[in-house]
């Protein structure tokens, strides 16, 4: 068990103007699950890119030993040949090809350039079995969920005879049950002697599966914790990551909840393509002034669909139901009308739906409320600058200038730009869809603080999250969704992770009780 499979010694990697890695050493033992944690920008991804040959030998200093041999990778194929496979956060599958075609892409089962499909399909079946994915090898990637796609990626790694599997944030976009499946798979691999490196922001799962934890901060190794010897708490890891004690994961709040300011009744939504599939079924929800309402559920439970259909019918077909703002029925049939009726929706996918990445921070912040900074259709630039600087300071967006392009910001700061945009639109009701996905502990805390402040200013907030501790930590009341239905509602004071999970997971059990 104590044989070393990988050793990285004194790795230093500089980009123009930034030292991304400073003398980092990192050792993985044979057959262990080694977690690599650290805040965004701590250098985790850079280190893995050095390891897999994305940054070729010579562009960094230091040595890499894999199975006792020094390696000087020139590119990613080189490292894969030795059994070092990295699975990136953004999956690299071709959506309109089948599982089989993706499985052997670049590694086709061919003789003289002619593919042996029978061989390929039967091997795919075998690999899918090993990862516990029961899908036909002919299924197109585009028809599968993110969790299943993740499994295909892992099967693909197995096809390459992986010895060390590197997973970069594998569960970031998975719900609890898919995440659980993935972690089980890692443990299973470990039993078969495959080592893995797990990069994750979710400390609970790190704590659960990792044998060792290495913490990076500001491009340097802080420490390596051995979980088999000491029992490591999440707070212990966080302390290493941020360099100080975070007293609370969630900022304290005392809520002053007023009357109902927004309500939808009998809300029905159908799927835009599969026309007879209902994605929201007779949903009734309400939000009160100063209240943070959680929307819990699995991925695919219909939370995002519900939120987007409320936000000016941005999703779905044949939408029916009524919406009330402060007791009066309102027309929210277009996004424009929804915004002018005080509703804002901050998307779960900030890069694809939230930001115009190639534009300046300033233009992103004002996009949803250009009227407020223009006179007669002409933009008043001084006003725009004043306003956007105000938001930069209020939400502490870290940037060199508000003229910086959004694409160059870190995830947490991008999220703050999205929030600024919606705050500037001055809504009464803010729907926040996975606002903390993929951002680090420190930035999460800041986002929670912002949410608290908004609630105390009297806004109503609908908070969608796949991380239950978060929902329990900041919400006043929780709705649970499953398959387009609201299946549970409870005040946060009566909620627990187990209780919510019970509602989420099994219909039968609830019925039996």
């Amino acid at each position: 068990m104590d044989e070393v499979i990988l050793e990285m010694r004194n790795i230093t990697k500089t980009f123009p103007g930034v030292k991304a890695l400073d003398n980092v050493s990192f050792t993985v033992k044979q057959g262990e699950i080694h977690a690599l944690v650290g805040e965004n920008g701590a250098g985790k991804s850079t280190l893995m890119n050095v390891l897999s040959g994305v940054y070729p030998y010579g562009s960094y200093t230091g040595e890499i030993y894999f199975q006792g041999q020094e390696c000087r990778f020139q590119d990613i194929h080189h490292s894969e040949e030795l059994g070092l496979v990295i699975i990136h956060q953004e999956l690299a599958l071709v959506p309109f090809l089948s599982i089989t075609e993706n499985m052997f892409l670049g590694n086709e089962q061919a003789k003289n350039g002619v593919i042996n499909w029978n061989e390929a399909v039967s091997r795919t079946k075998e690999l899918l079995n090993r990862v516990g994915l029961h899908e036909s090898p002919n299924t197109l990637i585009t028809n599968m969920g993110v969790g299943q796609q993740q499994l295909v990626e892992i099967a693909k790694a197995l096809a390459k005879k992986v010895k060390l599997l590197i997973l970069d944030e594998p569960t970031a976009s998975l719900n609890e049950s898919d995440s659980e499946k993935l972690l089980q798979l890692l443990l299973q691999f470990k039993a078969h002697g495959i080592s893995s490196i797990l990069i994750s922001h979710k400390l609970s799962e790190v704590k659960r599966v990792a044998d060792s934890i290495t913490i990076l901060r500001d491009g340097a190794t802080i420490e390596t914790l051995d979980c088999r010897i000491d029992s490591i708490t999440e707070n212990r890891i966080i302390r290493g990551m941020v360099g100080r004690d975070l007293k609370h994961r969630f900022p304290p709040r005392d809520s002053k909840i007023g009357e109902t300011i927004f309500e939808v009744r009998d809300w029905n939504v159908y799927h835009p393509i599969h026309e007879d599939r209902k994605v929201s079924n007779n949903v009734n929800i309400k939000v009160r002034k100063g209240e943070v309402v959680g929307l819990a559920g699995l991925m695919g439970a219909g939370r995002t669909e519900l939120a987007m259909s409320i936000f000016g019918r941005a999703y779905g077909r044949r939408i029916s139901g009524t919406a009330y703002r402060q007791g009066k029925e309102v027309d929210i049939s277009t996004i424009d009308k929804a915004i002018s009726n005080g509703i804002a929706y901050a998307t779960e996918d900030r890069k694809a739906y939230g930001l115009v990445l190639i534009q300046e921070i300033k233009s992103n912040i004002t996009l949803a409320n250009l009227e407020a900074i223009s006179d007669g259709g002409v933009i008043n630039e001084p006003k725009e600058l004043t306003v956007t600087r105000e938001y930069r300071d209020k939400l502490s967006i870290r940037c060199s200038s508000i003229r910086q392009l959004a694409v160059n910001l870190s995830g947490g700061n991008q999220q703050k730009v999205v929030l600024s945009k919606w705050l500037f639109a001055n809504p009464d009701i803010l729907i926040l869809d996975e606002p903390t996905r993929g951002i680090d502990v420190g930035a999460k805390y800041e986002i929670y603080t912002i949410i608290n402040r908004l609630a105390s200013e009297g806004k109503g907030i609908i908070f969608i999250s796949s991380e239950l501790p978060e929902i329990l930590g900041i919400c006043d009341r929780i709705y649970v969704m499953r398959e387009g239905n609201i299946v549970g509602e409870m005040p946060a004071s009566e909620a627990s992770q187990e209780k919510v999970m019970e509602y989420i997971m099994t219909e039968e059990e609830v019925v039996e009780q």
Binding site: Y353, Q359, S363, I379, P382, T386, R398
Partner: protein, 401 residues
């Protein structure tokens, strides 16, 4: 990974400022320098013909329709689409105008108004397919290219129609009247040049003051002076050349108004901002309350009107409508936008860039014709220039990333 939090970073060293300034604006300056280099090259190669007043006037007249359409095309390209039909629209509008004026004796003023309306209708038709029926613009406008060319042939029945009333011809071949009537020199033109230069300097000064007031880093004052001297010299030089021929062509005045208008729309207006946002990320723009289908629809309507205007200018200049007018013109227009730095994936591009790109093509056409290079090699050269300009863009982008 430290980031700075202040907007204005105080600077050290004049050279350094100049270099960073150049590097940050390498696209604009690079293109302008390339244009000047090409002009100087042809000035020598043609033995001084290029800068002769009559040739400069010609150059403007020849390129007026490319520039006119480049303004609309830029907005289409910034939106993330393309319009291949504009060459055929030019021909069809010309044919329509000739039939109205020559065969039906409609007054030319009414004809102009009708033709612009037809342009708007064509734009609306294509825009509807693209924006609401979600058919890719490449396909819609490729179809439009065939349809409108076919309609041109049908309208003209295969022959050329002309000539036109003088009033109509004056759109392209006329010059602004000279109030001073000084023999051999058009004083009004020079006066307009002076007023225009003063206006430009004033506007630049005001923009600079504003930027300083809001704490943004501004270029050193001496650079500001040099820049304005160069611009003033260029404007006055052009006016002087024009004045020593017949004065400012009507078309040039129209062009100035259009360019200024579109530059204003793209940089200062809410509509412009929304078009750039739509091109940069259509989904994000839509989820921010921008009615993207409607906006795209009107972008095509705008293109249709400008294409019709260009059709009128072409027809007036040639004094006849021919079935093959405007053939291949869409390619010059699109090339102008890309040479001027517009991005094929949308969201990026400037009016000034497109105008410089159009002039680049114009000067190449003009200069190569004067030195007697065959049409075959002219196309090769233009193609290579387009490719190099885009390569320059991509190279810069990668270097900065």
């Amino acid at each position: 990974m430290k980031t700075l939090t202040n907007d204005a970073t105080s600077n050290s060293g004049t050279m350094k400022t100049l270099t960073t300034l150049f590097r940050n604006n390498i696209r604009e300056y690079g293109m302008l320098i390339a244009l000047i280099a090409v002009m100087v090259f042809f000035q020598f190669k043609t033995g001084g013909i290029l800068f002769k007043p009559v040739n400069i006037t010609n150059l403007v007249l020849q390129n007026s329709y490319v520039i006119t359409m480049a303004l609309g095309m830029l907005l289409i390209i910034v939106s993330g689409w393309i319009d291949l039909s504009v060459g055929s629209v030019v021909a069809m509008v010309g044919a329509l105008a000739s039939v109205l004026m020559v065969k039906l004796q409609v007054p030319w003023g009414v004809t102009v108004a009708l033709c612009l309306l037809v342009g708007a209708a064509i734009g609306a038709f294509q825009g509807y397919w693209v924006a609401y029926l979600k058919i890719p613009a490449f396909i819609v406008t490729l179809a439009g290219m065939l349809v409108f060319r076919g309609l041109t042939f049908a309208l003209l029945q295969g022959e050329s129609i002309g000539p036109f009333p003088t009033g109509f011809q004056k759109i392209s071949s006329g010059f602004i009247p000279d109030v001073f009537k000084y023999p051999g020199f058009h004083l009004t033109t020079l006066l307009i040049g002076i007023i225009f230069s003063v206006l430009l300097i004033f506007l630049d000064l005001r923009a600079r003051r504003n930027q300083q007031k809001y704490g943004f880093e501004v270029t050193p004052f001496y650079f500001f002076i040099i820049k304005n001297i160069i611009i003033t010299a260029a404007v006055m030089g052009l006016c002087y050349l024009m004045a020593s021929y017949k004065g400012l062509p009507n078309v040039l005045v129209l062009l100035f108004v259009l360019i200024a208008g579109y530059a204003f729309i793209t940089t200062q207006s809410v509509v412009g901002r929304r078009i750039y946002a739509m091109g940069g990320n259509e989904k994000a723009a839509r989820l921010s309350g921008v009615n993207t289908p409607r906006l795209l629809f009107y972008t095509f309507v705008n293109m249709g009107v400008l294409a019709a205007l260009a059709g009128l200018i072409v027809t007036a200049r040639l004094n006849s409508a021919t079935p093959n007018a405007g053939d291949g013109m869409e390619l010059d227009v699109i090339a102008a936008c890309f040479i001027g730095g517009a991005s094929a994936s949308g969201g990026i591009g400037t009016v000034i860039g497109a105008v410089v790109g159009a002039f680049m093509i114009g000067v190449l056409n003009n200069g190569m014709s004067i030195i007697g290079l065959g049409i075959d090699w002219q196309k090769v050269v233009k193609g290579v220039v387009l490719l190099l300009a885009v390569l320059f863009d991509v190279y810069n982008k990668n270097k900065n990333a």
